[in-house]
């Protein structure tokens, strides 16, 4: 019932479906983290490998931790710790802003699904 070419067509079809799914459903995934201090971009880091940044603001150093596919503010001298409590950011458009210290991290991706996301 199934001939050689049929198996090939089925496999190619499966490949098409998988690649379509990856293309269509990965758009919101971020691939770079843009780090700003006092509104100026100080660092643009790719989310491909783990790395840490220490950015100095008016209150002291803000630690930014990057892992493959996500980024977070690991430590910050701001009193309320809001940006630290936001945790890991991975979707394009998400941002964490440490206000008294004027440091922010914003995730950017291939497509921008949202202008910004905040919690």
């Amino acid at each position: 019932m199934l001939r050689t070419g049929d198996v090939g067509v089925l496999l190619a079809g499966t490949g098409l479906v998988v690649s379509l799914a990856m293309f269509a459903w990965s758009g919101g995934q971020g691939d770079t983290a843009v780090i700003r201090s006092a509104g100026q971009i100080v660092e643009t880091a790719s989310l491909t490998h783990a790395q840490r940044f220490s950015i100095n603001g008016p209150l002291g150093a803000t630690q930014i931790e990057i892992e493959p596919g996500r980024a977070r503010i690991a430590r910050d001298p701001s009193p309320r710790q809001l940006c630290v409590k936001q945790g890991w950011l991975s979707q394009s458009g998400q941002a964490a802003l440490c206000l008294p210290n004027q440091v922010s991290v914003e995730i950017r991706g291939r497509t921008t699904v949202y202008d910004t996301l905040g919690y």
């Binding site: 070419g5 067509v9 089925l10 479906v17 799914a21 269509a24």
Partner: protein
């Protein structure tokens, strides 16, 4: 005054196409009653008939059956010339276009399953193209594409297996008596 009578000569081919189209229309109506989790995802049972016609009577007959199916299906479901009708027509045209090329594939390697899967992808491709250009020119459609493509793959393969089995038993001969 003499009454004028218009005679349209009907030959055996016309009758056969009409019968097969009626079969396809019946399947279209039957599957319209099936609930579907996502609007637009349907098994496409009428394509079984179209594919069997293609394999037994050639592309012209298949195009007639498919066209009549879309037209009469639209009439019977009350969606004639509504957006759904045009989507159906775009899918049927794209699918026939794909079949016109795919039927030249060497048949010892590519059986009904290949044709059915390719036609199903053609169908969904035509529909999505029209929907993307005309009805929903937005990114939302892209998010749904994998769902439609997966449905086309699964239902295309199932329909193809059904066609292969029916061809083996030549069930169509029972519906349409062959000229001997």
């Amino acid at each position: 005054m003499t009454r004028s009578v218009i005679e349209l000569p009907v030959n055996a081919d016309d009758r056969r196409i009409a019968r097969l189209a009626a079969l396809a229309i019946g399947l279209t109506l039957a599957e319209a009653a099936l609930p579907s989790p996502v609007p637009g995802v349907k098994p496409g049972l009428a394509n079984i008939v179209v594919l069997m016609v293609l394999l037994q009577y050639g592309w012209r007959a298949a195009a007639w059956v498919s066209g009549l199916r879309v037209l009469a299906g639209g009439l019977l479901m009350g969606s004639l010339f509504a957006p759904g009708f045009w989507l159906s027509a775009a899918g049927a045209i794209a699918s026939l276009g794909v079949l016109a090329m795919a039927r030249h594939l060497p048949s010892q390697y590519f059986g009904p399953v290949s044709l059915s899967v390719l036609a199903a992808f053609g169908h969904i491709g035509g529909q999505l193209a029209l929907a993307g250009v005309w009805l929903l020119p937005s990114a939302a459609l892209i998010q749904l594409m994998p769902v439609f493509a997966a449905a086309a793959l699964v239902f295309g393969a199932i329909n193809g297996v059904i066609v292969a089995r029916l061809l083996a038993t030549s069930a169509l001969d029972k519906v349409v008596p062959q000229k001997t």
